[in-house]
Subunit: 314 residues, 2 copies
């Protein structure tokens, strides 16, 4: 307990000097600019390019790219060395949203206040735009300059591709979506809920952090600690999402609240109640922060993100 | 002209001693067995696994895996070194068929005499099974054992991932499907038809052959010659497909003929007429065979496949 308090004092002290908003803004800008350059509309007028850009360049937190960059930084890496991986992770996230929104899945017309891809274009184009973003992610993950001096980098990138593919695949994110669909209208227990989130959102968040740590040349121990951080903030993020759906401000969030209850969705608040859910989220964030105790102040962005996850209003 | 005749005599002589049926059978069996092991139903009862297996293990020519293996062999490589890549190529092909068959795309209920994935399961599962196969392809392409002794292999596999992702992506196969959908009900010219096929089927066939050649440690010149072979047989395959849709035997083909005309699809026969289409296909195959003149008899399987493409009845 003393250790925990001590940790928090340290964290809080450090946090005073770290401006997360500026950090997020600058990293989001770098990611958006790079994505904009990769999927260049000026040289390719295909409808699939417009559809990819429609979804990928929509306003978003860029949480996966930022986590990737921040994890790399925590182990001493540079943003420019992980930027392509960061963009690839956002592409995979965007593809999953496009396909999840389809009529055969969640059938959503709006996302972030904009028409979803199949509404703005059509269903065939949306399916193909999702496919294209997923494929492009692997194209850019494998497109590093392989001049002889960087030959060892190839091993790292291959490892990263494998981690990301596993996280996004049928034993990760895709199985999470299958479980989410199966859970619709069926009450599920806490264990199944946690498993579903660990797969549907947790796996890619963990992969984002591992990717940053590997490309930043983190040690085995550093990567292990960052994995603990990742598992905890991944789940905390989802618990807070559920809480915001109960007591968030629709004006701040830019979307309706109370929808989970209407849909009879199993959520943390519906299973644990709102207070216990908050406590659970707080514990998860504490665990995440504790894992960062292993690092110096280069991990401040990761610390700030953990605080942001629990304090966010949208 | 003399050179061409000379080449053909040589080719014909060689072909006498090469049994393509046994070759195809043995390679298809190896590929099917490996796929069966990779997507293991006994340890994973998820519906998405059943859907992936339904489509991937359906009867098929396995033309892309066989081309990959045969290209590797032509440059002196071994089947076992490219088997994972061969399976990945088939997974990408299978994913593209699942998504192309969806109601929002071609809306096909049957493929190879079996219900399509969205009929056998449902639309959401079919979309996710396609996504899962595409993702799994990149997982297995990046899953080679990276012990230090094989460090140079990482560079080759990274290159292969990049080639396959480009071929399958929005500048390749996906753009081909976009063009195919756009062409429906619109007569298009020869140039646009060729472009559409080069993207929709040609790109992945070329990637299959490049992949085999690279992993088999082919020289730059060998890879160049195999690319010429690939471009020509890729297009020839499509021209023959169009011809079989006009004059094939439904009983042998296991599917209806004349459907292109009913759908008012632009095809080689509809643009060039049947005889000129046959001549065109023959010329393409001749070009492909000529490119193989650069190789010794280890390229016999590729020669036999070129002959098979033009002689096939289904």
């Amino acid at each position: 307990m003393y250790l925990k308090n001590h940790l928090f004092l340290k964290v809080n002290r450090k946090m005073d000097s770290f401006d997360l908003s500026s950090y997020l803004f600058s990293k989001q800008k770098q990611v958006n600019r790079t994505i904009d350059e990769i999927i260049d509309q000026t040289t390719n007028s295909s409808v699939v390019v417009s559809a990819m850009r429609h979804s990928l360049l929509a306003e978003g937190k860029r949480i996966r790219p930022v986590l990737c960059i921040a994890a790399s930084q925590a182990v001493g890496g540079r943003t420019e060395d992980v930027l392509m991986a960061a963009c690839a992770l956002e592409m995979i996230h965007a593809y999953s949203l496009i396909h999840d929104d389809l009529p055969a899945m969640d059938n959503d017309d709006l996302r972030r206040g904009k028409p979803t891809c199949h509404i703005a274009f059509n269903e065939a184009t949306a399916i193909l735009a999702g496919d294209a973003l997923l494929t492009l992610a692997f194209e850019i993950l494998s497109s590093i300059d392989l001049n002889p001096i960087k030959i060892n980098d190839a091993v790292k990138w291959l490892r990263v591709i494998n981690i990301i593919a596993k996280a996004a695949g049928y034993k990760g994110m895709i199985e999470g979506q299958i479980k989410d669909i199966a859970a619709e209208g069926n009450r599920i227990g806490l264990k199944d809920l946690e498993k579903m989130h660990a797969l549907k959102t947790g796996a890619l968040i963990e992969a984002s952090i591992s990717t940053g740590a590997i490309l930043g040349n983190g040690s085995v121990e550093q990567i292990q600690q960052l994995n603990i951080y990742a598992k905890n903030i991944g789940l905390a993020f989802q618990v807070i999402d559920d809480i915001l759906n109960v007591e968030g401000d629709p004006a701040v969030m830019g979307k309706d609240v109370g929808t989970d209850q209407v849909r009879e969705k199993s959520t943390y608040p519906s299973i644990l109640g709102i207070e216990k859910s908050k406590e659970f989220a707080k514990n998860l964030v504490n665990n995440a922060l504790q894992a960062l105790d292993y690092f110096d102040n280069k991990s401040d962005p990761l610390r700030a993100i953990a605080h942001y996850i629990i304090d966010r209003k949208k």
